[in-house]
Each structure stands twice: as C-alpha cells, then as structure tokens.
C-alpha cells in the first residue's frame, strides 16, 4: 500500500477519568469511502469518535490522519486538521438562525465574503434549509436539525466527516433523506465515518464496517460481507 489511510487508529485505549472504555481499538478509513461503526449501546462507539477529536483522553495508541499523528489534539484544532464532526444529538446553536449556524461552521474562515460563499454552497446542497435560512435552529424539525448539523460540519470542507448516530430519533422519512444525503456526499468525494444504532441501514450504504463490543473490535469487513455474516446478523442486526 502506498498512501496511508486517511484515518488510522492503532491500539487505541481511552478512558473517562479512571474508567477505561476502549481497549486496543483498531480502525482505518480510506479516502472516499463510508465506514460504519456499529455495536450495542455502551460499546464505545461515540467514545471512538470523541477520542479522535480530543473530547476523550487517549491512554495509549495512536491516531493518524493522512499519516500525521494527531493523538490527543485539542478539540478546537479539529477543523484545522480537516475533521468535521456531527455529534450525537446534533448540537446546534438553538437561538441562532439556520444561516448563523452555518456561518459559525466556517468560523475559522476569516474572510466574510468567502464565508458567505460557503453558506450559499451548503444551502444549494440542502434546499430544505435554504427555505428556512432565517428560522431559529431550535425551531426546526428533528430531520431539519440533523441536515443543519451536517451542513454546518461541511462548511470547512472537511477531509473527513464523522457522524455520530445521524438517524437517532428521526422519523423514517427523515432517516431515508439523511442516508440518501450521505450517499450523495460520498459520491461527491467526501469521506465518512459513521456511528449508527441502525446497523442494517448503515451497512447498506457503507463500504466497510466495524463492529465494536465492550470497547473492543469484534468484527471488521466489507459492509456487504458483514450483512451476510451469520453471527453479525444474529447479534446486531436483530435478524435471522
């Protein structure tokens, strides 16, 4: 292999205070693919993402972005490294408008004209948001909020977009829309790392998948192979 993976976690241990949550976690994301990270509640999926952007303390192991070590970086440096993050529960600025939220997404962009251009670009991509640009984010529906959270994370043109449970708490209609949107992003060349409860749906759109259990790697394979895997189906896809 010539180029290093876009994201590479090696033997990652992480903890909340004294409680260790991740044990030697291994994960790779290649440019241009969608990787799904699945597993039961409390498996440590969110923790993996949080340790990448410095919200959780890494005890041991390495995180590399395009070959460059970023282990333990300060969270506010994530956008500079080209990492976009859509947190679980889509944290927005509820009392700011849709447009203001998007502008905040390009906060590090000093040139206001360039910032406005980026806002227009994202609004073009999300027509639903464009129609509600002046509405307070807190007044949007759940699905629209998720769109906004994704749109905001795209403002800095991230090399890697990480999404934590993008379908959580959404009606089926919106889940369809969000997943369709993620595929569009992939086709535009974005690279996505996605954590999902909705494992079957996630694996349907993903290229590869990792199954995490009790903070440890359990399975890793092409998404289609995981969907076929007997054990994975029984344990995590609620299937037969």
């Amino acid at each position: 292999m010539s180029a290093p993976p876009l994201l590479h976690l090696q033997q990652l241990d992480a903890s909340y205070g004294p409680i260790q949550v991740l044990f030697s976690v291994q994960l790779e994301v290649q440019p241009g693919e969608i990787v799904a990270l699945i597993g039961p509640n409390g498996a440590g999926k969110s923790t993996v993402i949080k340790s990448i952007i410095g919200l959780v303390r890494v005890l041991r192991g390495q995180i590399r972005l395009a070959g460059r070590e970023i282990t333990g970086m300060a969270t506010h440096h994530a956008p500079l490294h080209g990492i976009g993050y859509v947190p679980q529960g889509r944290i927005l600025f509820a009392r700011m408008t849709v447009r203001e939220n998007l502008e905040m997404g390009a906060f590090l962009q000093q040139d206001p004209r360039e910032r406005r251009r980026l806002v227009e670009e994202v609004l073009d991509q999300f027509p639903q948001l464009a129609a509600r640009a002046q509405v307070l984010a807190g007044h949007l529906s759940g699905g629209e909020q998720q769109m906004l959270a994704i749109g905001r994370s795209l403002m800095m043109r991230p090399k890697l977009l990480m999404l934590d449970e993008p379908s959580l708490g959404l009606s089926p209609k919106y889940v369809d829309q969000i997943f369709a949107q993620l595929l569009v992003l992939r086709d535009q060349g974005h690279t996505l790392l996605m954590v999902e409860q909705n494992a079957a749906r996630a694996l349907e759109i993903a290229d590869r998948g990792y199954v995490l259990e009790l903070g440890r790697n359990r399975f890793a394979d092409r998404a289609s192979a995981l969907l076929e895997n007997e054990a994975v189906r029984r344990l995590y896809l609620g299937g037969v």
Partner: protein, 305 residues
C-alpha cells in the same frame, strides 16, 4: 443600529459631563454611584452576560481594588497610578482563579466565585498589618482627590466599559463568547478555543471593578472589610444586568439607572431588607424576564412593528 448607539452614548455623555455644573454634591454623589454600577454591571456582563459563566462574587475584585487604591494613595502614589494599579492587581488575581476554575465546564466557576467575596472580606479582617483589620482605612482628605475628580474618573471608567462592550459585541471575540454561551461543546468543535476566550473575558472583566473600587475608596475616604466586600454589591450587579438585558450594550446602563433610582427612593429606608429584596428581584427576573427590559422591548417591537 451603530449610529443610534453612538447617538444615545453621546447624549448621555453630554449630560454627564455637564452634570457637575448644575447638580449639588448629594446629587453628584448619587450619579457617581450610578456610574459605578454601570461599570460593575458591564464587567459582569462581559463574563457572565456574554459567556453564561455566572460570577456570584465579582465584588471581590471591587474590594481588592478598593484596598489597593486606598493603600497606594496613602503610600504617596498619584491617584491615577493607584487606580491603574488596582485594576491590574484585580486582573492579576483573576487570571490564576480563571485558570483553576474556567478550564472546566459546568458549575465550578460559579461555586468558586460564590465563596470568594467572603474569603476577601475575612482576609481583609485578619490581615491587620496591611488593612487595619476591622478598623478599616481612613484616607487623608489632603491626599484624596475631590468629589468632582472622582466623579470624572468614574465617568471615564463607565464610558470605557461601555465602549469596550460595544466593541466586543460587534467583534469576532464577541461572537466567540456568544457561541460559548449558546453551546460550549459545539463552539469548541467549530474551532473556538473556549478556554482561552473564557480566560480573556474573565481577566478583562476584573479590570473594571478593580479600578471602580479604588475610585470608590477615594470617594468615601473610608473603607473597611464589610463596606467594600459587600454581599449586596455582588447581587446588585447581577440584578442590574438581568433587569436591563444580559449580553446587550445598553442593558447594564438602563438597569443601573433604574435599580439605583428605585433603591434611592425606597429601599434606602429598609437597609435590613435590602439584600432579601434584591434576591427576590433576581429570582423574579430570571423567571419572568430572562432577557431583561431590552429583550422584552425587542420582542414587543418585533411582534407589533
């Protein structure tokens, strides 16, 4: 918006500059105290109104400033050197405090500040060699600036505080603080160094009460622990900002004028009830007028305008 701000400011400044010409000493003293409250409220507005980190003990910087100013003046320093030093010392105290408490999210800062004013008062009582303990410090009238000088110092400070707030509200720094108040984690994710911003806001906010404390000491020419580490002062600046509108430019000014006037007319008669009434007012404001008078005004305006 900007021009109307400048217009209001110019008008207020014009009146305040002429005031010593037609007010008697009693009235001028009252105005000085209003200006002091504007200064303190803008200071509280900067850290708590803008970032949402509530300081229940901002008065500690006022007390430190009062003692610093009084001691330096008695030691022979120029009055303006004493004021400047008081401001800087208060900020120098705020920085390590902030480093300890603002690196964490959540209530640590509020809890730490809650006790701090009391710590200040107790220290001032115990450190007799420096502060004179409970006997306080009487400033020699020969060394203290006259009322008009103190009035103009306080006016300059209040103008500086309000101009500073006006600048911050329009600046990138102000936007960063607002983002922290709205959602700190989101702000951090989007590239805002939240700890650094909170520290700058807090340290800068300590300059104002430090200076105001020194001017206050010159003005009353007597300070003791219970008059400058005054629990009521902490509550007053909070009530003033909540009443006017937190995170706004004119809220603290409006709140200061209103609260000081009402107090002068009524509560001065009931000193024992004072703190209880202030506390009650604070609760009522939080419950029923969270955005203050300016917020309510804006809401009514947008509904009917």
């Amino acid at each position: 918006m900007r021009y109307s701000d400048l217009g209001i400011g110019a008008l207020l400044l014009f009146f305040s500059l002429l005031a010593p010409g037609f007010l008697n000493n009693y009235q001028l003293s009252f105005l000085l105290q209003v200006l002091m409250m504007v200064t303190l409220a803008q200071s509280w507005n900067l850290i708590s109104g803008m970032t949402g980190y509530i300081s229940f003990g901002h008065g500690v910087f006022f007390g430190v400033g009062a003692y610093t100013g009084a001691l330096l003046l008695m030691g022979g320093a120029f009055w303006w050197v004493a004021i400047l030093s008081a401001a800087l010392l208060a900020a120098a105290l705020a920085l390590p405090l902030g480093l300890l408490t603002l690196r964490l999210r959540g209530p640590y800062f509020a809890i730490a500040m809650l006790g701090l004013n009391e710590v200040g008062r107790i220290l001032a009582n115990l450190w007799v060699d420096l502060t004179g303990g409970g006997d306080g410090i009487a400033l020699s009238p020969l060394l203290s600036p006259v009322l008009a000088t103190n009035y103009f110092s306080m006016l300059a400070l209040a103008v500086l505080a309000t101009l500073g707030m006006g600048w911050i509200l329009r600046s990138r720094f102000g936007l960063e603080l607002r983002a922290i108040r709205e959602d700190e984690e989101a702000a951090e994710m989007l590239g805002i160094d939240t700890i650094r911003n909170k520290l700058i806001a807090f340290t800068a906010s300590a300059l104002l009460p430090g200076a105001a404390g020194a001017i206050y000491a010159f003005y009353t020419s007597f300070i003791d622990p219970s008059s400058v580490f005054l629990p009521a002062l902490n509550v007053q600046m909070i009530v003033v900002v909540l009443l006017g509108g937190r995170g706004t430019l004119w809220g603290p000014v409006l709140g200061a004028v209103l609260l000081m006037s009402v107090q002068e007319l009524t509560w001065a008669e009931f000193p024992a009830l004072h703190l209880a009434l202030l506390g009650l007012l604070m609760i009522l404001l939080v419950l029923y007028l969270p955005d203050g008078l300016l917020g309510a005004w804006k809401r009514i305006g947008s509904r009917y305008g």
